[in-house]
Subunit: 179 residues, 2 copies
DNA sequence: GTCTATATGCGGATAGAC
DNA sequence: GTCTATCCGCATATAGAC
C-alpha cells in the first residue's frame, strides 16, 4: 500500500480500530493492538485522541446522531402507519448494522459510554407510536417481539437484495403486532 | 449475619460472584471484587476453584445441561405443535432468565466459554421443528422474530403472574410465524 | 506527528507459612 | 482453608526528545 498522502491518521486509526473490533470485540482490543496494526506506537494514538474512551466515542457518535434524529423526527412528524414505521426502523437498524453487531457483542462498553439509557428511550418513543401510551401487557409483549425481531433480522441476517429481507422482516413484525 | 456453620464457602463464592455480575457484568468483575465482598483474599478463591474460568464454568453449567437436555428431548420426542414448542421454549428461557441476562450483557464471556456454537445449534434444532429443513428466507425471518421475541419477553419483561406473560408472548410469537 | 522510555496500576495466578 | 508476599504480564497514560 502506498503511504497516505496527508494527515488522515485520525481516520486511519478509527478504521483500524473498527476492523479489529469486528474480529475480536471492543473490550478485547487494546490500544497496543490498534497501534501495531497501523505500524505506529501507542503514544502516537494519544496525539489524535485524548483517551481510549475518546476514541470509542468518536466511533459511536455517527450512530447516536442518526438514532436521535430519527426519534426526534418521529416525535414531531405527522403520524405514520405501523408498516411505514416498522419499515423505517428496519432501515435505521440496517444502516448501522456493523456498529450494532459490535454493541451487541459488547453491551458493557455501551454501558460505559452511557448509551443504554438512550436506547431504551428510543425504543419507548417507537413503542408509543405503535401502541399508544399506557399499553396493556399484551401490547408491550407484541411491541417487543415486533421491534426486537425487526432489528435482529436487519442486523443478523445476511441477504441480498436487502429489499427482500426488509419486506419479509416487516411482514413478520407486522403480524406479531396482531393487527 | 451469623458466621456460616460449615464449609459451604464454595457456594458462597458462587453466590457473591452472581450478585456482583448482576450489578457490574461478568467481565468487569475481578476475583479481587469477589474476594472483597466475602471478606477473604484472592488466594482463598483458588482453594475452591482452579481458575477464574473454572468458576465461570461452574456457574453456567446448570443452564447448559438444561438447554442440552431440552434440545435432545425435542430431537427424539414425537413432534409437537408449534404452540406447544413455543410455550416450552418460553419456559426454558424463563427458568434461566437471570443467567441469560448476564450472557446478553457479556456475550464475549460466553464466547470465551465456547457456548456461542451450542446456542446456535439449539436454535437450529428448534427452527427446523418449526419450519422444516431448507427453509425460505421468509421462513428464516419469521422464525428469528418468533424465537428471538419469545426469549426477549421471557428474559426482559418483569410481570407476574408469569402465566399471563407466557400466554401473551406465545400468542405474539405464533402470529409472527404467519401460520 | 511520531518516537523511546517510563510511570503506575490491576489483572490472574502461585509459593509457602500458619 | 485462609493468609502474606510476590511474580508476571498487559493495560492506560504521560514526559520529553526528535
Amino acid at each position: 500500500m502506498p503511504r497516505q498522502r496527508t494527515g488522515d491518521t485520525r481516520a486511519r486509526i478509527q478504521q483500524a480500530a473498527l476492523e479489529l473490533f469486528a474480529v475480536q470485540g471492543m473490550q478485547q482490543t487494546s490500544l497496543q493492538d490498534i497501534a501495531d496494526r497501523l505500524g505506529v506506537t501507542k503514544p502516537a494514538l494519544y496525539y489524535h485522541f485524548a483517551s481510549r474512551e475518546d476514541l470509542l466515542n468518536s466511533l459511536v457518535e455517527p450512530m447516536i446522531a442518526d438514532f436521535e434524529a430519527y426519534a426526534e423526527g418521529l416525535r414531531v412528524a405527522a403520524p405514520v402507519s405501523p408498516r411505514e414505521l416498522l419499515g423505517s426502523y428496519f432501515d435505521l437498524a440496517y444502516r448501522h448494522r456493523a456498529m450494532i453487531q459490535l454493541a451487541i457483542r459488547d453491551l458493557s462498553v455501551l454501558h460505559e459510554l452511557k448509551l443504554a439509557d438512550r436506547f431504551i428511550e428510543w425504543r419507548g418513543t417507537l413503542a408509543e407510536l405503535l401502541i399508544g401510551p399506557s399499553p396493556s401487557l399484551r401490547d408491550v409483549v407484541r411491541c417487543m417481539v415486533a421491534l426486537g425481531g425487526l432489528s435482529d433480522c436487519a442486523v443478523m441476517i445476511e441477504h441480498t437484495p436487502v429489499a427482500e429481507l426488509r419486506e419479509a422482516a416487516v411482514d413478520a413484525a407486522y403480524d406479531s403486532l396482531g393487527r
